[in-house]
């Protein structure tokens, strides 16, 4: 399974539909302070089933929905989709006949979020299992948020053990 494309609309500062193609090798993301780079990382974590608003730097999960600027009104809907290339046929059995897998998460202000995989409505649990089988997911140690390197250094030895368990 390869991650091929991330699409977002109404998610944090990305109010307009935005598409990030994820290609092999090293892709750099640059831009001034406050322009939305870390928001992209959060969109990826969120579509993979993140359930904690704090991980999204917000107070509640509705904080991921575009909340307006001095020039534009707030939105009530946010949607992120992740396109996965399954040419190597490594997806879980239920989905392995598909060449492409599209995972979509959508949230409406005040009424929670819903997930779809290739058009079919699924539970958060199903999405989390899909990614866990692919050694990824919202809590993968390979997603390193800003400032998290410091947390590894200052962690107590028993907290660092959690890293080992991811490798087991």
């Amino acid at each position: 399974m390869q991650f091929a494309k991330l699409r977002l609309a109404g998610f944090k500062s990305f109010v307009e539909p935005t598409e990030l193609v994820i290609e092999p090798g090293l892709t750099g993301i640059v831009g001034p302070n406050g322009c939305g780079k870390s928001n992209l990382v959060e969109a990826l974590r969120w579509v993979m089933g993140e359930t904690s608003a704090r991980q999204m730097r917000g107070g509640e999960m509705d904080d991921v929905i575009f909340n307006g600027t001095l020039g534009r009104p707030a939105r009530n809907l946010a949607e992120v989709s992740l396109l996965i290339d399954n040419h190597d046929r490594k997806a879980p059995a239920a989905l392995n006949d598909q060449i492409e897998i599209e995972v979509v998460r959508r949230i409406e202000r005040g009424s929670g979020s819903a997930y779809r995989v290739n058009g079919r409505e699924v539970r958060a649990r199903d999405v989390q299992l899909l990614f866990a089988d692919a050694a990824s997911g919202a809590h993968s140690p390979a997603l390193v948020s800003q400032g998290r390197i410091g947390a590894i250094i200052n962690a107590k030895p028993s907290d660092r053990r959690a890293l080992l368990e991811e490798a087991a």
């Binding site: 640059v30 990382v41 990824s136 998290r148």
Partner: protein, 164 residues
């Protein structure tokens, strides 16, 4: 449970020792499982000595040395169970130019070996110069993010300036 943890520990420790030497250009380091009745309750201690220095605990290293050691540990865990995607948000901020260079070389090698796709958020011009491609995020309209693909020629400009 216990068996798996010990096997994982040994694999991560081997990778950690190798990556530490590659990132620091020398020195040595190792992981130890702290004493506990049950290995499932043990903690992970990191001992490291940069080239030419004595072996010490993490807290006595400098800011940049700590970050580099943490990256060695992170990628040691990663290599034990490689993920299809890896996203790094300004992990190069505390590093000097020589360490940024070794770090990018390591990422290049890992990406070729495992096929993992990397997204690197950075302000460091040397890191930008080592990427296969660059995306820019701008806020032409205040508060509204827009993603643009940076023309590699412009990227080339960054490479040339960084290489001076």
């Amino acid at each position: 449970g216990r068996e798996r943890l010990i096997v994982a520990f040994e694999a991560v420790n081997r990778h950690f020792q190798d990556l530490f030497v590659r990132l620091f250009g020398g020195g040595r380091a190792h992981l130890t499982l702290t004493e506990a009745e049950d290995p499932l309750d043990a903690g992970l201690e990191v001992m490291a000595s940069p080239p030419g220095k004595r072996l010490q605990v993490l807290s006595l290293l400098s800011g940049g040395e700590q970050a580099l050691t943490a990256l060695s540990l992170l990628f040691a865990v990663f290599l034990a169970n490689p993920a299809p995607i890896c996203v790094l948000d300004e992990v190069d901020a505390p590093l000097d130019d020589a360490n940024v260079d070794r770090f990018c070389t390591m990422l290049d090698e890992i990406s070729r070996a495992t096929g993992t796709r990397f997204l690197l958020i950075t302000h460091h011009r040397l890191t930008m110069a080592r990427m296969d491609r660059l995306y820019g995020v701008t806020m032409v309209e205040r508060g509204i993010s827009q993603l643009v693909s940076v023309d590699l020629r412009a990227g080339e400009q960054i490479r040339l300036r960084a290489a001076e």
